[in-house]
Symmetry: C2
Amino acid sequence: MAQSEPLYRQIAADLREQIRGGQLKAGDRLPTEAELREQYGVSRNTVRLAFAQLQNEGMITSTQGRGTIVREQVITTYHASWAESRDRMSSDQVDAFHAEQAAQGHKSAYRDFEMRIVPASPELAERLTVDEGDSLVSRSFVRQVDGEPSSLQDSYYPMDIAQECGLLTPHDVAGGAIRAMAAKGHVEIGYVDEVTTRMPRPDESRKLGLGIGTPVLVYVRTTYSDTRPLRLTLTIFAGDRNRLVYELGDISGYHGQNGYAS
Amino acid sequence: MAQSEPLYRQIAADLREQIRGGQLKAGDRLPTEAELREQYGVSRNTVRLAFAQLQNEGMITSTQGRGTIVREQVITTYHASWAESRDRMSSDQVDAFHAEQAAQGHKSAYRDFEMRIVPASPELAERLTVDEGDSLVSRSFVRQVDGEPSSLQDSYYPMDIAQECGLLTPHDVAGGAIRAMAAKGHVEIGYVDEVTTRMPRPDESRKLGLGIGTPVLVYVRTTYSDTRPLRLTLTIFAGDRNRLVYELGDISGYHGQNGYAS
DNA sequence: TTCCAAAAGTTGTCCCAACAAATGGTCTCA
DNA sequence: TGAGACCATTTGTTGGGACAACTTTTGGAA
């Protein structure tokens, strides 16, 4: 490995891989601290640091006297809202974001643009109604606000739509992807947003420049035409620097703009 | 203090109080590990455990060679949605929640109901358009799903509305508060939702039974009539067990119901 | 067989020590 | 004056040890 990577992080990475890869499933017991101490030839202190890191990521749980197990994540859905809406104006998300940030006096930019072709995971396949393993076009970038990284955005398109609408380019699409799709008859008529939270993974933490102990907002928007899902956008927001606001109904004034602490 | 409370937690609690109380402000340097070791007469390891806990709460940041400082939290707003909606059906949030959970096959209940009269904080005052320090009626409870605590809900009403609508009772209001207000002419016509995330405070962690490393979703809904804000609802969701979903536009089918991991 | 006590196993707390790495300031020398 | 070397300070990493607290298993006694 990298000779500069601390031991406890290497151990944490190993265990994380085993959990991610399925060798260790939810509810399974991890090796005891003593066993890992033996196995890696390190002190118990170092093993405990590795455990602490995984605990902070919400992946494992230790119980005194019993051992350490892989956590299982069961989540229930709270259907917060449903609304009929029409007449959306600048449908392009990037433009809309830019405009709003500018209105708030912030400078928005994006970098590290990347286009990849990836197989559909079960979650992606379900939401885009394609088969698991089907090729999807991923277009991702890092969004910056006032020079600081603010969120990681990753959009997935079904391959046939991406080809038809010229989304296989390794750079930004002029006018935005939504407009390019609309020009070919794939018109957005609505979307479903899913919002949840978790601790960031190390690479996310690095890209977003997050301090230890900062969670992220995981935000998934599935966009639909009248016949099929057009796109899935996965956005990882730095939890300490972002807030999502939904206005529903016919509100006139009121809404404050500043932070909510307690 | 309690003789059973671990040293590192006592130290963490002391520092947390100093930050909360304002003796240590954002950007200030904390005492060095060596100083705290001296001051409390403990080992450096114990001080580091205390620091680790505060780091996981997102309150402080340590930098090698420089020291440890109190973090400052600046957040920007992302206006994710705007929509005109009408014909909402069961407007009462509690009932709506119950119904949805039942539809998903879960048993929803609530406990520890509490009614208090509290002065308006700056954030509450701004959103409810009252003066800071004005009396508000707080009605809070713990929501349970399948016997597990799922979220902490706390609703704030302007005093005059609460009096008029009989919300000063220390128990549940038959038919729901929204219906009671509507009966007196305070009809809900829309709301603004704000969603963000952070690490839980110790009391929240305890009430929700959260494991270490589990963040919470902070969800603020401000409800409006055609003339004024009626209510502000602050909900703390256990981040590992909840998800918010917003449907916007005219969608027919599609949307999946299961967890989103990556 | 049943129940209770003891033992073994495992994580939690706490101490001590040493060196590495990064930062910020000082001091010297060109 | 300016640049670079050096040093003190501070946190990061890693090792070692001891006992406490809690859970599970085991074994013996009734």
